[in-house]
Every structure is written in C-alpha cells, then in structure tokens.
C-alpha cells in the first residue's frame, strides 16, 4: 500500500495531477468553507467562544488524570463499564472479548475516527464478525475499500458518478448518480443491518466527567440507532475527549457543527448515561474504552500537548492549502492535514511520519480556523526541531545548514562569502537547486549586496 506517511511526496505529486480528485476536493471544500463563513459570522462572540473552548480544553488536559478518574467513577456508578486501553491491540482485544461473550455476528458502527485509528473494523471482520459502517460517507469508503479522506467528510474525494458506479458494482443496484436515490439505497441496505445487529460501536465527541456521560453528535441518525438498537453498545474514544461539566457543552455546541460541517447545530445529539434492561430499544450493557495509543506521548511535551485539545472537526484540513491540493489520502495517515501531522507522529513515532510536519508552508490558516485555538503551525515547527534533534535529517541538509551556520554567525565570513559567491557568478558558476527550478526561476544574487552599498555610501 502506498498510503503511508513516508510516501507523502510521491502521493502528493500524483494527487496534484489527478484532475478529477482536485475537482471533487475543490467543490466540497469551497462549499463548506463559504458556508462556514456565513454561520460563523452570525456569532459576534466567535473569538470569545474559541477562547472559552481553548480554556476548557486546556484546563482538562492539565488535569487529565483527575477528570478521567472522575468520569470513570461517575460512569461506573451509572452502570457503564470502563476499560482503559494502552494501545490499539488492547482496545481491539477488549472489543473482541465482549463480542465473543455475547456471540456477536453483526456489528453496526457509527462514525468514529478512533476506530479507524486502531483498525477495528478490519480486525472484527478478520475475526468473523460482520462490521458495517453506517454513516453514509463511511459506508461509501468501506464499500470502496478506502480510508476516509477527511475526518468529518470521509467521502469528500468522490463524485456522485463514482459513488453511483460503486453502489451498482458492490450492491448490485441499477446505476444512478442522484444523491437522493443513492442515499435511499444506503438507507434500505443499512436499515436491515441495524435491525439485525447484536453489537453497536460508536465513538464519542465528548465525555462528561461530572455525570459520566457519553456525548455523540451527528446528522444522519445512524449513531442514535447504533447506540440504541443493539443490546450492547461499545463507545471507543481517545482519553482527550473528556470535559469537566455538562454545561461546558454549550460552548462546544456552538463551535463544533460550525467548524466541522458549517452547520449551526447538528441534527442529533445523544447524551448517554446508563444502560437499560427490559426495553426493546435500549442497550443492556454499555462499555467505554478510553484509548491512549500515543496520546500520553503528547501529554509529556509542554507544547505538543495542545494537540490534545483537538475536537476533531477537520476545519484545519479544509483551510490548509496543502490539504486542499492533495486531499486526505496523500498523507497516508488516519488523521490527515495539519492536526494530523501533529497527531500521527505521536502514534506512529516521528521517524515513520517524518515528512508530515514538513509538509506545510506554515501559513497559519490552520490556527486561524481552529475552534479551540491550537497553534498547529507552531506545533509543526516543534516537531521539525524534534526530527533534527533525533538526527533524522539527511546528511546533505545537515551539511548545508552547518556551512550556512558557520557563515551566518560571523559577519566577516558572511561578507567574504558574499564576495566569493559574486566572484563565482562572474566566472559563470551559479548555484542551482534542481527541485526549485522546475516551475520557478531560481533567484539571482544582486550585483552588490546592501552591506556593500551601505559601506560605500558611508565612505
């Protein structure tokens, strides 16, 4: 598979030339961004809301152990079983254990990036449990055998024609490219799955410490059904999703939908506290898996831990000029785009995700749009420094910077070097940077430097 972070550049070159992909991306992104401006500008206190959200997240992450314990205590009291998973293997095995216990055959899944992160669907399928994505976008990428290309709009890279073809191939229906009809086909197909599922798996947008609640925000109703119909519900989520109070939701309600899908508010919010026995449509058992999987690596760094404030809205991806051009798959990571380039190294290790922090012009649009004010572009710089510290840079780059540094730290040397380069230029020797020059003319030295002119003027 070429979709790994180390193939970023190759993937990017291909994506840049993929006219169809770029058309699909541009359509989806420009639509969402322009709508977002509309729904954000309605709120005069947007900046204030961002600040509040930032502070709530900051406070929680600073006291994460406390709030996780509190959540566990309250949720346990509500009758919910909590499991803390160190990594994806522990999480997957725990899910399998529950699935085996209840003899599950069919599992319905609502949208959850954390389950993508640990590869849960594939794992359950390998173990003979049919697992179906029920969010329309996720369902489309599952049928196509792909990864989501955006965390809240998974099938954004596909056109209606491509989806129509996919449906007729995989579901044996007559080709149509009408979104209404395609949606209806998915509804019919998935309705059957909902009614027969024994296990429902969801993520969580928030966990509320004071009440032990699981909060899931969505538009289609699939999360509502996945957490209602099957007798067992497992919510898998990252440890960073906990927030202190129920009333904190008021802030996040205002920013999440607007940032994720340019909506004032999503169609559905489920706040789940406890399981119910003897009800035809309520889970009898609820489990919450709190996943670490590299998140405490971020917690260790005073600066990088900001990345844990992320509420997974995906706005930074949409606004990023790099993502806009190459799409989510190019990154080869579950979380693409700017925030993905911070989260992925924490999960895979920086060596395997080395290119990602460098794949940014550092324009800062990600920070500008981030509803919880994560300084994503600065975190990328932090990771670049880590990469150099760990010795991951190429020998050539190291050599160039070594020489550059020697020259820059001594202005006399700098002046001599400046003269020497001009001497070379006179001899017809010009510096060349091949990678730069394909589409751009490499800038040339001025006949005289400013320093030289300044000196001459003075004397």
């Amino acid at each position: 598979m070429n979709y790994i972070p180390s193939k970023f550049r190759n993937n990017a070159v291909k994506a840049l030339l993929n006219v169809n992909l770029r058309k699909n991306l541009t359509r989806a992104i420009s639509h969402t961004l322009s709508k977002r401006v509309e729904v954000v500008s309605e709120l005069p206190d947007w900046e204030n809301l961002r600040q509040k959200a930032h502070e709530i997240k900051k406070h929680t992450i600073e006291n994460l152990a406390y709030y996780l314990d509190l959540f566990e205590e309250r949720a346990t009291k509500n009758g919910v079983k909590i499991f803390r998973a160190k990594d994806s293997i522990e999480a997957k095995n725990y899910v399998l254990q529950i699935a085996r216990k209840i003899n599950a055959r069919l599992c319905v899944k609502s949208k959850s990036m954390v389950t993508e992160e640990i590869g849960l669907r594939e794992f359950l399928e390998e173990n003979g449990i049919e697992t179906v994505e029920t969010d329309l976008g996720e369902f489309i990428v599952q049928l196509a055998g792909e990864m989501p290309s955006h965390i809240t709009a998974p099938a954004m890279h596909k056109s209606r024609d491509e989806i129509g073809k996919l449906f007729s191939e995989k579901l044996g229906v007559k080709f149509t490219n009408e979104p209404e009809k395609l949606t209806n086909i998915a509804r019919e197909f998935l309705r059957h799955k909902f009614l027969n599922a024994d296990l429902g798996i969801s993520g969580a947008n928030f966990l509320i410490a004071e009440t032990g609640s699981i909060v899931i925000v969505e538009n289609e109703g699939n999360a509502g059904l996945s957490t209602t119909i099957p007798k067992v519900h497992i919510a898998i989520t990252g440890i960073e999703k906990v927030i202190p109070r129920l009333s904190d939701l008021t802030v996040f309600f205002k920013i999440l939908g607007r940032s994720a899908t340019a909506q004032r508010f999503t169609s559905y919010v489920s706040i789940i506290n406890s399981p119910k026995k003897n009800k035809p449509d309520s889970p009898e058992e609820i489990y919450v898996i709190l996943l670490d999987n590299g998140r405490t690596n971020l917690l260790k760094s005073e600066r990088l831990k900001q990345a844990l404030y992320c509420i997974k809205c995906g706005a930074c991806m949409l606004t990023c000029p790099v993502y806009q051009r190459v799409g989510g798959h190019t990154y080869g990571s579950i979380y693409p785009g700017p925030i993905g380039s911070v989260l992925t190294p924490a999960q895979l290790g920086l060596r395997d995700a080395l290119l990602l922090p460098f794949a940014s012009s550092l324009c800062g649009k990600c920070f500008e749009i981030c509803p919880v004010k994560i300084e994503i572009h600065h975190l990328l710089l932090q990771l670049r420094a880590q990469a150099v510290d760990l010795g991951f840079a190429s020998w050539l780059e190291k050599l160039i910077f070594k020489l550059w540094f020697i020259v820059m730290r001594n202005y006399k040397l700098y002046t001599s070097a400046s003269k020497f380069l001009r001497y070379l230029l006179k001899l017809g020797i010009k510096p060349k940077v091949k990678s730069w020059s394909k589409e751009r003319i490499f800038p040339e030295l001025a006949p005289k430097s400013f320093k030289e002119i300044w000196r001459n003027q003075k004397t």
Binding site: A12, S360, S361, L381, W404, M408, E439, S449
Partner: protein
C-alpha cells in the same frame, strides 16, 4: 528614540534595493536610525527547518547586536515574526530583553509608532497587495500597509481575490515540496492576474520572490515590487 535597522540576509544579498528604499523612507521622516553592520541572519531558515540549536545561537547574537535600540525596524514581516514570535520559543524570556516587543515590521512601525499614514510617495500604477502569512497571521498586520498604499499619490489599490492565501513559499517547504509549493504559486499568480493590477506588492520580499520566480518561468506578465519601494518613490 534610536532605531536599529534590520535588513534580512536575503534582502541584503538578493534585493538590496528594498533595503535602500527602507533607508530612504526612514531618512525622509528624520528618524534616527543605525544599521549595525555586523548583523547577518535572524536564524529563521534554521528555525523553520528544525535546527533550533543553530537558530538559538544566531538569535542570541542578534539580540546582542540590537539590544541598545528602542525599536528594531525591518522591511520583512517574516523576519520580524521570527524575532517577535519565535525567539521566545527558543530563548528564555529573561534573556530576550524586550527584543520581541521592540521589533516592528516597517509599515507597522510607520503607522503605529510614527503615526504616519502617508509617506508622500507617488506611484502612477494599479497595485494589488498580497498579505504575507507571517505579517498577517503572526503579527496581525492587515490595515497598515493598505493605509500607506491608499495614500500614495496616483496609486490605485485593487484587492485581488483571496489576498490572504499563501503564495506557497514557506522557506524550506518550497525546496522539500516543490510541486505543492509551485501549485500554490500558480493559484496566487492567477488571483494577481485576475485583479488586473500592474504590480503586486507585499511587506515580504520572500513571497514576491516566489511569485516572481513562478511568473517569469511561465512567461506571465506580473511585476512584483516591495512595499518599501513604492512608499519611497518620492
């Protein structure tokens, strides 16, 4: 009030005319400034590529050179943001000696500190302004250059579509990911062309370098000019 003039290394080497234009403006307003000859680079290329140890040494040197000034002024939003925003990330606050507070990009200095809204320049052309990412998003400079440009005699300022979109330079990004970087330049160049302006200007010559490099390679009729050159045309 004593001003230290900081001419970034790439302006020194590639675009000395931008430095001279800055000097001309400062002189016009009788601003007491000095150009410390021992200055080289603020360290940004190293910092942005991850060589923080090297950047830190250059930053310390920079601070030493510029510590005796009331303000440090530079015709580059990007290099000023290195000093203002990024030095505090590599140097302990007590060693910074207010250097980050004292550093200002040229247009910001003219408008905010000197209360100047016109340099008395004349420029009989249509001009569009490109917001450099560092000036805009790190330093919050948006209105200052526009105020000064609007008050240039005969100049007509035309806003392009998406003036805030990145030109794609990004320092080492443009070398590590030339294809993406060039594609970003392509879009920027189109916005500029569509604006119909004769010139594109900015607080940052590095953006203009990227735009010019792309435009020339592709034989596009775009003229770049640093804002200091327009503002010093008196």
């Amino acid at each position: 009030m004593k001003i230290g003039l900081f001419i970034p290394c790439y302006i020194d080497q590639l675009y000395p005319e931008v430095g001279l234009a800055t000097v001309k403006i400062l002189k016009r307003f009788g601003i007491n400034f000095e150009y410390p000859i021992e200055q080289t680079c603020c360290g940004q290329p190293a910092f942005n590529t991850g060589y923080w140890k090297e950047a830190k040494i250059l930053a310390e040197k920079f601070i030493q050179i510029f510590s005796n000034f009331d303000y440090i002024v530079s015709p580059s939003g990007s290099c000023v943001s290195m000093i203002k925003i990024f030095y505090p990330k590599i140097i302990l606050t007590e060693d910074l000696q207010d250097i980050s507070k004292k550093s200002l990009e040229l247009t910001e200095f003219l408008v905010k500190v000197m209360n100047i809204d016109s340099t008395g320049a004349e420029f009989d052309h249509t001009v569009t302004y490109h917001d450099s990412c560092h000036a805009l998003r790190e330093l919050g400079i948006k209105t200052e250059p526009r105020i000064l440009l609007r008050n240039v005699k005969k100049l007509k300022l035309i806003e392009m579509e998406n003036p805030e979109d990145c030109c794609g330079f990004g320092g080492t990004f443009s070398v590590k990911f030339p294809e993406i970087s060039s594609d970003m330049a392509k879009y920027k160049v189109n916005y500029i062309l569509n604006s119909g302006a004769e010139f594109v200007t900015s607080t940052d010559q590095s953006c203009l370098m990227q735009i010019d490099s792309y435009a020339r390679k592709n034989n596009l009729n775009i003229k770049t000019i640093h804002i200091a050159q327009i503002l010093s045309n008196f």
